[in-house]
Symmetry: C2
Subunit: 216 residues, 2 copies
């Protein structure tokens, strides 16, 4: 075939196919050969559009970050910082749980991914505008990311095996219901996320008032 008159591939087509493959079969299913086959092309062709396989996965991750709602952090938005953080966290978590297999890539940090940086920028900007000192605003961006990516990465409930015999009462006296966790996984993880988010925001509220911070 050699070079076609119209390019067979584009960065967007590659990212789209890679994302679909990640979603349907997981990160380990993505090999350059497999992905190329999915696109009707031979393996090395991908290297005309991306320098490495990792760059492709970074682009898939960034596409997920781009879906996070940031409107609550805009200058004119009426929500106060607590409410904005709350709504953003829900949107962020929803984006991640819709594409759980790419979360390990996202959890590495924003790196050079534009949408990842946009998120960090929006949070930091909104927190400083709300009166938080820069160091505290940085901490808030970090700790919210810890909590959100941590919750999306290690679904707590899915982390327990669905097998009664794994939990010997002599060894784990308090885990005798653990094998049931996998069943109502979603409810447990959502409940824990909600409880944690509320605690986090309540606690930050205390620190905000104790510090005497207020809107500039």
């Amino acid at each position: 075939m050699a070079r076609p008159r119209k390019p067979l591939l584009s960065r967007d087509r590659i990212v789209g196919a890679a994302g679909a493959l990640v979603d349907s079969e997981g990160l380990e299913a993505v090999s350059t050969r497999r992905l190329a086959a999915e696109l009707g092309v031979s393996g090395p062709s991908l290297y005309n559009h991306f320098r490495t396989k990792d760059e492709i996965l970074e682009a898939v991750a960034d596409a997920v970050s781009a879906k996070v709602d940031l409107s609550m952090f805009e200058e004119g938005d009426p929500r106060d910082w607590r409410e904005a953080l709350h709504d953003w966290a829900l949107s962020y978590r929803a984006a991640l749980t819709a594409h759980p297999h790419i979360v390990p890539v996202l959890a590495r940090g924003p790196g050079r991914r534009p949408a990842g940086l946009k998120v960090a920028d929006a949070v930091f900007g909104a927190m400083t505008r709300a009166g938080w000192p820069p160091a505290q605003a940085t901490h808030i961006g970090a700790l919210m990311r810890y909590f959100i990516t941590g919750s999306a990465l290690g679904s707590f409930a899915r982390g327990f095996v669905d097998d009664r015999t794994a939990y010997d009462p002599a060894d784990y006296p308090h885990l005798q219901q653990a094998h049931l966790l996998a069943d109502h996984q979603e409810k447990v993880d959502e409940g824990a996320f909600g409880t944690g988010l509320r605690a986090l925001l309540d606690g930050l509220g205390c620190q905000y008032e104790a510090g005497g911070y207020r809107k500039a």
Copy 2:
């Protein structure tokens, strides 16, 4: 060589070498061939002691979990649940940051790893004894894990590239100091962890009191 009179390998030796390799060169450096070479043995030999490479990594992860201090959750310990949770979180985080490369494996959940299950058991037992209803105790175990593994996995500061030109002021007006984050990485991550942990515990304290819970 064939079968030696004294076994060349043992599960412990394999786990030790794998852990050392993970710590020094990262997860991707661990291949069965490379690990076997490190042990002076041929690749397939490992399969006499572990069923898969993943089982070896699970064992490495469990060795790290085993280092987490759980004494604060023992029945006789004088610490109240808030203080116990606090001290445990610090010990957990210290164990993870000492072996950052294995965290992605740990973050998948306890699975069948004995030390991982011991941790979950201890937290759940202590929270129910403190008066939390079972569902809430489960949530607390989950959300603490989200926060702790999230913080160890995606070092926030290391997540930003150390390159001024990556942060165009037009795109990211609030990230003009971001390239400095990598420098005082440890301080930022520790600060954010401390801020988040305090907020989490303060917030949980509010919920505890609002719920009217108390020690059985």
